[in-house]
Symmetry: C2
Subunit: 200 residues, 2 copies
């Protein structure tokens, strides 16, 4: 469980990323230097690079954690549950916690940087590859690849619909309910496509 | 069937778009003016604007035709065929004809212009909306929306895999066979998710 030293390190790491996101949102990603992030977070440049080898890593600071959570979602499947049950739980949990998707700061920085967009797409593809590999232990490789892709594509659809519902003036509670219904229906369809037990 | 005048107009329209794509690929989209396109296609600027109201339309010159072909694919479903049969045929046909996706010129211009990328995503979303509306005549709205989204997402996966297989040095014939197998499997899964008759 870490101990004090580990906890301190995790706190410093998180603080640096928080400060970085704030600066990126204020000034733009390209216009912000690592030195400025270090100064604002009250650490040395070397410390920043210890935690985050590249400037993009300051933005995608939770990439590893996110990939891990997807893989755990596949592994967490319980006896008799559908192949995709863990992935459904993970997606539902995410939209229950953040029905509007990433924070406004995160979106703004991303929208302003083609480099981060390209990097983000690449990382998304890596997460998808990892999930496809995990699913391939239960179904054939081609099916696993397609399922992983379709699971990951539920999120962009959900976020697009949230945006529309917001523009249409729906209440937050109503949006939350609708997005969870959408995610559930999408997984119902995927479950049926492989059969609840996971057989194709 | 048009007649001579209509055919001439279609030829002029296509020639302007071909010339534009070549110039965009040589110089970049932002660096090319409509006047330069007109001069290279040997028509007036007014003629270009008659066919293509905005410069982006010169690049996405087949947008309407593409949306129409998706809608016809939904409408073309025959007695006893699955809800998605027409869409499957359309996707297979496209990859049979162009297993590597859009032309090198098209990709290069797109890669160099965030504006065109944004516009392209928007148009893709419109095609998806149109297909969702067409499917909603047979299944409930939420299911139709999800199916349309998952159908449209088969293409990016197929193109990504084609890229990988190309990097791995596979022969063109092998790639073509694999991408058609992928598209077929993806539609098999979607068919099963709604039931072959289209009932959910």
């Amino acid at each position: 469980m870490g101990g004090l030293r580990e906890r301190k390190k995790a706190e410093t790491r998180a603080r640096i990323a928080d400060v970085a996101l704030r600066l990126f949102a204020e000034r733009g990603f390209d216009q912000t230097t690592v030195a400025e992030v270090a100064a604002a977070a009250d650490v040395s440049v070397k410390t920043v690079f210890n935690y985050y080898p590249a400037k993009e890593d300051l933005f995608f600071d939770r990439a590893e954690e996110i990939e891990q959570s997807w893989l755990e979602a596949v592994a967490d499947r319980q006896e008799g549950e559908s192949l995709l049950a863990g992935l459904r739980r993970r997606s539902l949990g995410r939209f229950a916690d953040h029905p509007n998707g990433p924070s406004t700061h995160f979106r703004r920085v991303l929208a302003g940087s083609p480099l981060l967009q390209a990097k983000g797409q690449q990382m998304w593809a890596w997460h998808e590859d990892a999930v496809a590999a995990a699913l391939a232990e239960e179904v054939d490789e081609l099916t696993a690849r397609i399922l992983a892709h379709q699971v990951f594509n539920i999120h962009p659809l959900a976020l697009r619909m949230v945006e529309r519902w917001t523009e249409e003036g729906l209440e937050a509670d109503e949006i939350r309910e609708r997005v969870l219904a959408l995610v559930n229906r999408a997984f119902d369809l995927l479950d049926r496509s492989v059969g609840v037990g996971g057989a194709v």
